[in-house]
């Protein structure tokens, strides 16, 4: 079991680098623009719904969810957590929200609106307004509402319908979802126009929407190519390259070219049977949020032959959908946003998997990307990224004889994730994966 420590264990894509760099570039450009007086908005991941509006209106968006992860990784979250605790916010709440609430309290109550000097990477400036989203969990929109305690800035909560699998197919339901989505977005546009004192450039919105859809279509194609054996691209590359598609970071034309480059590179690897790791012994699916602060943990697993071939439903591009016949950009955006989870409902209903939007996709991933095991990462203070995991584990075992390994952590209390302990469990889990591979053969499954 000797390991060549000199070799890099994960063969990263060259085309990943400019996409990863884009995130930093965009962030710094944004910071410059804000320092030069451009208004900033605090936003939240909204799955292609509110972001294109702000992008088309050339508004700088700062994402406290991401900033929470940065603060945690740089070891400065604790002071903000303590402050939020002192301000009366119960400690079981989402670590990102507590970090930002503590940050806002410090910025507004102690520093009269100035960015705290100790804040890493330039901090987050005082926003003009807050754009939150009801998607995924309660905490997300209640958190932004709580920020109103410190900041005199209105909050817009973007609606995010989430019907049950069966209920989705009731006659007329989908059209009503689109209807609400379009009306809601229209009102949001008016709200933004009022806040910034400018009108929406509808042509720009039209092209922004198209670019956003096309970027994600190409990005989706890249990920489909990962079904190949050996898998040409590791999860680490997915996480590094995704922000441009998920958050619409930076110039969209540029992003489109970069994803096209990535598509070419991945196709080349497929043709030449080049894997993302030297020896692919096990193919894994990862759920849900990665341990951002300890990603080299995956390198250690790669040395053992673990290739991560697909991951994180919450970050994935929607299944492509043809929206060329829709004239109204607001409707195109709404349908694309709904497609994020609705794209799976047909299959989920056929398979009778009712466990909610976040659960069914993992069945599809394990089957189509031919996974030997699932690595689950429940996070103690992020319930929305964790509550589906027991269900996923159960579902994968029952339907596909695919076993899961669960390793706990947290989004801001990084001490809870113990890489050594996690690695100690890798060997016994390999035995488990080998055993269930035999079980799958007996059941007639082909991987």
């Amino acid at each position: 079991m000797s390991v060549d420590k000199g070799k890099k264990s994960i063969n990263r894509l060259d085309s990943m680098r400019p996409l990863r760099a884009k995130v930093n570039e965009t962030y710094l450009k944004s910071l410059e623009a804000i320092q030069a007086g451009k208004p900033a908005v605090w936003g939240m991941l909204n799955f292609y719904y509110g972001d294109p509006i702000l992008k088309a209106m050339d508004i700088e968006v700062v994402y406290p969810e991401n900033y929470g992860a940065i603060a945690a990784a740089m070891g400065v979250a604790q002071q903000y957590l303590d402050r939020a605790d002192a301000d009366g916010f119960p400690t079981h709440l989402c670590g990102y929200s507590l970090t930002t609430l503590g940050y806002a309290s410090r910025m507004m109550r102690e520093l009269d609106g100035q960015i705290p000097p100790e804040a890493p990477l330039g901090g987050m400036p005082r926003p003009l307004f807050l754009m939150s989203s009801a998607a995924v969990c309660d905490a997300r929109y209640k958190w932004f509402q709580s920020l109103g305690r410190y900041m005199d800035a209105p909050v817009w909560t973007l609606e995010a319908p989430s019907p049950g699998v069966n209920e989705f197919f009731i006659d007329g339901n989908y059209d009503r979802m689109v209807d609400m989505g379009v009306k809601h977005l229209k009102d949001f546009v008016s709200f933004v126009e009022g806040m910034v004192g400018r009108k929406m450039d509808w042509d720009k919105l039209d092209s922004t929407a198209n670019l956003m859809i096309e970027v994600n279509r190409v990005w989706h194609e890249v990920n489909e190519l990962r079904k190949a054996k050996p898998c040409p691209m590791h999860s680490r590359d997915f996480w590094s390259a995704m922000p441009a598609a998920l958050f619409l970071a930076g110039d969209l034309e540029d992003s489109l070219n970069l994803y096209r480059d990535m598509c070419r590179e991945v196709k080349d690897r497929v043709d030449s049977h080049t894997g993302a790791i030297p020896e692919e012994k096990y193919r894994l699916v990862f759920a849900e949020l990665p341990p951002w602060h300890s990603l080299n943990f995956f390198d250690k697993l790669a040395e053992r032959g673990w290739n991560f071939v697909i991951e994180s439903f919450g970050y994935r591009p929607p299944i492509p959908i043809d929206l060329s016949g829709i004239a109204d950009p607001l409707e195109r955006i709404t349908r694309f946003n709904l497609q994020f989870f609705a794209g799976y409902y047909e299959d989920a209903r056929k398979q009778n998997v009712l466990g909610g939007a976040f659960a069914y996709p993992y069945l599809k991933y394990a089957r189509e990307w031919k996974c030997d095991g699932a690595l689950l990462h429940p996070l103690i203070s992020c319930r929305s990224a964790s509550t589906h995991l027991p269900y996923v584990s159960d579902m994968l075992m029952e339907e596909l004889q695919v076993p899961s390994l669960s390793i706990e952590g947290d989004i801001v209390d990084l001490r809870l994730f113990d890489p050594e302990d996690a690695l100690a469990r890798a060997e016994p889990f390999e035995e488990t994966m080998r055993y269930y591979k035999k079980m799958r053969e007996q059941k007639g499954l082909d991987w």
């Binding site: 301000d87 079981h92 709440l93 309660d138 709580s146 319908p161 049950g164 609400m180 929305s384 269900y391």
Partner: protein, 388 residues
């Protein structure tokens, strides 16, 4: 002393063996539909002759089965509720209507549906804001519910039946409000503990029987000589749901709880469904806008100055001002169950509002187990000592 089969005695009896009446009705051929949240428009069930039955957890029941599908760090009330369902404690139910009020409600509903096999299950999606398009969408959701209910019951849900059901449930709301007028005197004529028993009984009976029970309770309470003793502090309790007398008794050992702002108390009864040409629209509007639960996003109209926060607080919590004044509330306990996100975020803002009114308040976190009662007791007693 009242006859045990009437009024408060009857409420007590029903509280201790909730499903008795539902089982009787089932044996008579009626169909019983469970609902885990007061946001479910049960008028629609009543209108089709289905009996609504509130699904609850049981604080005395240790959770064992729910571990299969729900993690430990999850709303203990819904976890317990699911646990009871998985243990078939509600095996008389013909179906369940769940709703997207909070994450735990949504996640529990999915698991519930996946792991059990009722003849009927429907999940209502609910938006988080009260904007016009949100109300319209919610009305559409209720229309979808109507479709599946009609298919299940084999009957048409006509407007007139629905209007009749709405009237019946509105009458219940009105009666409950009237009953709460009887906690205004000092000492109140009915205790917080008794009110929990009454409300739980209402949620276990068909609406007409509940209304009869309320009439009995009202006349008994108005004429009683054995009411609660005056205890000094008059408390308002605020929280998600408070449906266990064990918890209420901790509060009432040394105080009078004159108003319980929770889903085991006044919350589902404070307002009325308005008459509307389109009764589904009336229901959608009532449920989305009038239920004062922290899960709904409300914000004051955009203002122009730094006083926005105060105005925002007024728009979100202003309804408490009148209650505090009229019921002469001397202290507020904000009761937070562990892992509850909407109420946890809401709490500091509510405290700010109560501070602005000069009303002492305290925040107490608890777990939905009997072991949580002792720490709860110390904190409640200490709070009462600070305001005495």
């Amino acid at each position: 002393m009242a006859d045990d089969c009437e009024g408060l005695g009857k409420a007590r009896q029903i509280y201790s063996d909730r499903s008795l009446r539902a089982r009787e009705l089932k044996a008579e051929g009626r169909r019983i539909i469970g609902y885990p949240c007061v946001y479910v428009p049960i008028e629609m069930l009543t209108a089709l002759g289905l009996i609504p039955y509130r699904s609850c957890g049981d604080i005395r029941e240790p959770v064992t089965e729910a571990d299969r599908a729900l993690p430990g760090s999850f709303c203990p009330i819904m976890r317990n509720c699911l646990d009871c369902a998985l243990k078939s404690k509600d095996d008389f139910l013909d179906g369940v209507v769940a709703i997207h009020s909070s994450d735990p409600q949504e996640k529990t509903a999915r698991v519930w549906q996946s792991y059990t096999d009722y003849p009927y299950f429907h999940f209502i999606d609910m938006p988080v804001t009260v904007r016009p398009e949100a109300v319209e969408y919610f009305r559409g959701q209720l229309d979808d519910l109507k479709k599946t209910l009609e298919a299940f019951s084999g009957k048409a849900l006509t407007e007139s039946k629905l209007e009749e059901a709405i009237e019946s449930h509105n009458r219940q709301r009105s009666l409950v409000r009237q009953l709460h007028e009887l906690t205004k005197p000092s000492p109140p004529l009915i205790s917080g503990t008794e009110l929990i028993q009454v409300v739980k009984a209402l949620m276990s009976l068909p609406v007409a029987e509940g209304n009869d029970l309320l009439a009995e309770v009202m006349s008994e309470v108005k004429n009683r000589t054995d009411g609660p003793t005056r205890k000094g502090a008059r408390l308002l309790t605020w929280g998600s749901t408070l449906d266990s007398i064990e918890i209420m008794q901790v509060f009432e050992a040394n105080s009078n709880v004159v108003m319980d702002e929770s889903c085991g108390g006044i919350r589902a009864y404070r307002a009325e469904v308005q008459n509307s040409a389109d009764p589904l629209e009336g229901l959608a509007s009532y449920y989305l806008k009038e239920i004062t639960c922290a899960r709904t996003f409300r914000q004051a109209e955009l203002g122009e100055s730094r006083k926005d926060y105060a105005r925002d607080l007024q728009s979100r919590f202003g309804y408490l001002k009148g209650i505090i004044r009229e019921w002469q509330v001397s202290g507020v306990i904000m009761l937070l169950v562990r892992y509850c996100d909407p109420f946890a975020f809401e709490m500091p803002s509510l405290k700010d509002y109560l501070d602005s009114l000069g009303v002492p308040s305290t925040y107490i976190e608890y777990d939905y187990t009997l072991g949580a009662l002792a720490p709860l007791r110390t904190r409640v007693e200490a709070f009462l000592e600070t305001i005495s």
